[in-house]
């Protein structure tokens, strides 16, 4: 990785201006994955001083700044009880404290990683993202668009809802990437079942959500396993993932219904 110019904007607006000026600039969030990549970087725009590292309550729910680290999610008082602490659960065993102190919400969502625990959990909570240029949109819509490397993710919004929620994942060893991850949530007549690390990215399963609403955990598990797509990678085969999906969705939905 070769960076010729290293810029540290003091605000999101300043960062956006730098991105407009330097068309090939690369944003550094936590930097953990930028660092692992091999692409040559002429201009780096590091958001560390841009004032985006916060978790806060708003009149309409909660807001996570793009530079909120996983460790901040894990320790924020606002998140300990929100949706039964699912945002704490989904990050608290990722590598170690050191990595969780650098990896960010913005870098994770912008990277659209298939294995991502956070993406799976946020999809289950109807999170919205704010982009500097493209504006505010549901996370699911954002993930479906092609990444625009000139835009800047500034924040994530969580609705003021009292979700009952459950987090389930399976790793081969403690602190490894998930072989499969599942988030389930329910609030009134709304239900969400999301399955990620298939190894494809987290997706909702509407059929399983209908079963959850009907109070049928086993049915949700069955239909998630039979309708979602699963594939092979170094961690597991697709058939194994399908079995795992059955088990984890059953546990998640049963917990939400309990």
């Amino acid at each position: 990785m070769t960076k010729q110019l290293y810029l540290k904007p003091r605000s999101a607006a300043e960062a956006a201006a730098l991105l407009a000026e330097h068309r090939r600039a690369v944003i550094i969030g936590g930097g953990a994955y930028v660092r692992l990549g091999s692409r040559r970087i002429d201009v780096a725009v590091d958001l560390y001083d841009a004032g985006l590292d916060y978790v806060r309550r708003t009149p309409n729910g909660l807001e996570l700044g793009a530079m909120a680290t996983f460790r901040m999610l894990e320790t924020a008082p606002e998140l300990q009880d929100y949706a039964d602490g699912i945002l704490v659960r989904c990050v608290e065993r990722i590598v170690g404290v050191q990595v969780r102190n650098i990896t960010t919400v913005g870098g994770t969502l912008f990277g659209r990683y298939g294995f991502s625990n956070l993406i799976t959990a946020l999809l289950a909570l109807d999170a919205e993202v704010a982009l500097h240029h493209a504006g505010r949109m549901p996370l699911g819509d954002f993930l479906a668009t092609k990444p625009d490397s000139c835009d800047l993710l500034t924040a994530v919004f969580l609705p003021d809802q009292v979700w009952r929620a459950s987090w389930q994942d399976m790793t081969r060893t403690v602190n490894d990437y998930a072989v499969l991850n599942v988030a389930a949530a329910r609030c009134g007549d709304q239900a969400r079942v999301v399955v990620g690390a298939r190894p494809g990215r987290g997706v909702r399963c509407p059929e399983a959500e209908a079963a959850l609403l009907a109070g049928d955990a086993d049915g949700a598990a069955e239909v998630a396993a039979s309708t979602l797509e699963f594939g092979n990678d170094v961690r597991a085969g697709g058939d194994y993932r399908r079995e795992l999906c059955r088990t984890l969705v059953a546990r998640a939905t049963a917990e939400v219904l309990a």
């Binding site: 960076k3 290293y6 660092r35 780096a44 590091d46 460790r71 404290v97 050191q98 990595v99």
Partner: protein, 150 residues
């Protein structure tokens, strides 16, 4: 490029490459306490404190610390000595390569957690790999060190 930051309680001005990691810059400037292991943010031997939080210095761009505070094992000599003694007493110090990183995580843990139980200690130190000890003797040493400090 020039960066100005607080290193172990002293303000320093360094010339760095925009491409360098904090670990590279530290070692090039003679602070060789932080070690390089995996170089992929996975093993914890390069742990230093950035603004009082433990981070893998192999994954932090050196340019990021401009205007911030960095603490390395060279800056916590007293704690490092006491932790080292506890490790030696419990037979946990074998090749010793992981010790500086572990010291930094322990220093951070002491500030962050009040009277942690074994589960909390294990979780806090999960990012510090040790290829020699098997962790059991390390846990004894950590408990001994924390107990002695109180």
């Amino acid at each position: 490029m020039t960066i100005v930051f607080t290193l172990n309680d002293r303000e320093v001005t360094w010339e760095i490459e925009p491409t360098e990691t904090l670990l590279q810059a530290l070692r090039r400037n003679g602070l060789v306490g932080a070690k390089e292991g995996c170089d992929t943010a996975s093993c914890g031997v390069c742990t230093v404190l950035l603004d009082n939080k433990p981070v893998p210095s192999c994954a932090v761009p050196a340019a990021r610390v401009d205007g911030h505070t960095v603490t390395t094992v060279e800056g916590v000599q007293d704690q490092a000595r006491r932790i080292g003694e506890a490790m030696a007493a419990e037979g946990a110090d074998q090749c010793g390569y992981c010790t500086p990183g572990l010291v930094m995580s322990l220093v951070a843990m002491e500030k962050e957690l009040d009277q942690p139980d074994d589960e909390q200690i294990r979780s806090y130190l999960a990012g510090n790999m040790c290829r020699c000890s098997g962790y059991t003797s390390q846990m004894r040493a950590v408990r001994k060190y924390l107990g002695g400090g109180r």
